[in-house]
Amino acid sequence: MKSVPDSTPDEPSPPSRRPRVRRKDPLGPESEIGARLRMLYAEVESEPIPSGLIELLEQLGEAERRAVK
C-alpha cells in the first residue's frame, strides 16, 4: 500500500508556468543576490561611526544654535 504522494491535487497552476501576479521581487527577501548584497552592505553599516563625524555634526548643531539666539 503506497502512501499518498505529496502533491496536492487541487494545485491549480501547471508546473511549467508560474502565475504572473505573484512575481517575486528579484532582489527581495527571498533572493540570494539580495541577501548577499545586504550582507555586504550591512557589514559596513554596522561599523562604528568615526567620532570625528559625530563631533562635526555636534559642532554644526552648536554653531546653528548660537546663530539662532
Partner: protein, 186 residues
C-alpha cells in the same frame, strides 16, 4: 516645541550616517576616502538644508550629494571613474565565518567586476533599499536606465552564484568562462 529645538536635522543626519558610509565605501572602495566623502557630504548638506524638503527621503537626498561630490572629485583628479579595487574588502576578514563565507567572497569579487554604474544601481536597489525612482534621482538618470543596469548586474551576479553553488570552486570553464574571464580581462 521651542524654536531652538526644531525637529532635528542633526539627528536625522546622524541616523543616515551608517547608510551613507556604506554607499561611500561602495563608490570609493577605501575607508579613508569614504569617510572624507561622508564628512564633506555632511557639511554640504548642512549648508544646503534649506533645500531639503521635509517628508521626502533624506537618505536619497544625502546619497545624491555624496555621489555628486565623489564624481566631481574624480573629475578634478582627472581620473576616469573606474572600477574600484576593493569594494567592501576591508571588512571581509572579519566576515562571519559561517558556511556562506566562501560564497560571499566569490560574490564580492563578482560585484567588483561589474561596471561601476551597474554595481551602483544594484546596490542602491538591492542593498540600500531605494525605489527605482529614488535611485534614478540619485544617479541623475532615467528610471528605465536604472532598471536595465540592475537587470544586467543581476544576471551577471546570478551566473556567478550559479557557478559557486554548483561546484567545489574548481575551475569549470563550461559554466564560469564568460563571466569570470570578462572580469579578469578588464
Amino acid at each position: 516645541m521651542s524654536v531652538e529645538n526644531p525637529p532635528s536635522f542633526k539627528s536625522a543626519m546622524l541616523a543616515a550616517l551608517p547608510a551613507l558610509r556604506a554607499f561611500a565605501m561602495s563608490l570609493s572602495g577605501r575607508h579613508d576616502q569614504a569617510d572624507d566623502l561622508v564628512q564633506e557630504t555632511v557639511m554640504k548638506a548642512w549648508s544646503k538644508q534649506a533645500d531639503f524638503t521635509l517628508g521626502t527621503n533624506m537618505n536619497a537626498w544625502l546619497f545624491t550629494i555624496l555621489r555628486n561630490l565623489y564624481y566631481s572629485q574624480m573629475r578634478k583628479r582627472g581620473r576616469e571613474v573606474q572600477d574600484v579595487d576593493g569594494v567592501f574588502t576591508a571588512r571581509l576578514g572579519v566576515a562571519p565565518s559561517h558556511d556562506g563565507r566562501m560564497d560571499l567572497a566569490d560574490f564580492r569579487r563578482a560585484l567588483e567586476a561589474l561596471p561601476a554604474d551597474q554595481r551602483e544601481a544594484i546596490l542602491l536597489i538591492g542593498a540600500a533599499g531605494f525605489s527605482y525612482e529614488e535611485a534614478a534621482t540619485i544617479c541623475g538618470c532615467a528610471t528605465g536606465t536604472v532598471k536595465s543596469r540592475v537587470s544586467r548586474a543581476r544576471s551577471r551576479l546570478q551566473s556567478v552564484l550559479g557557478v559557486s553553488g554548483a561546484s567545489d570552486y574548481g575551475p569549470d570553464p563550461a559554466t564560469s568562462g564568460p563571466v569570470v574571464s570578462r572580469a579578469f580581462a578588464r
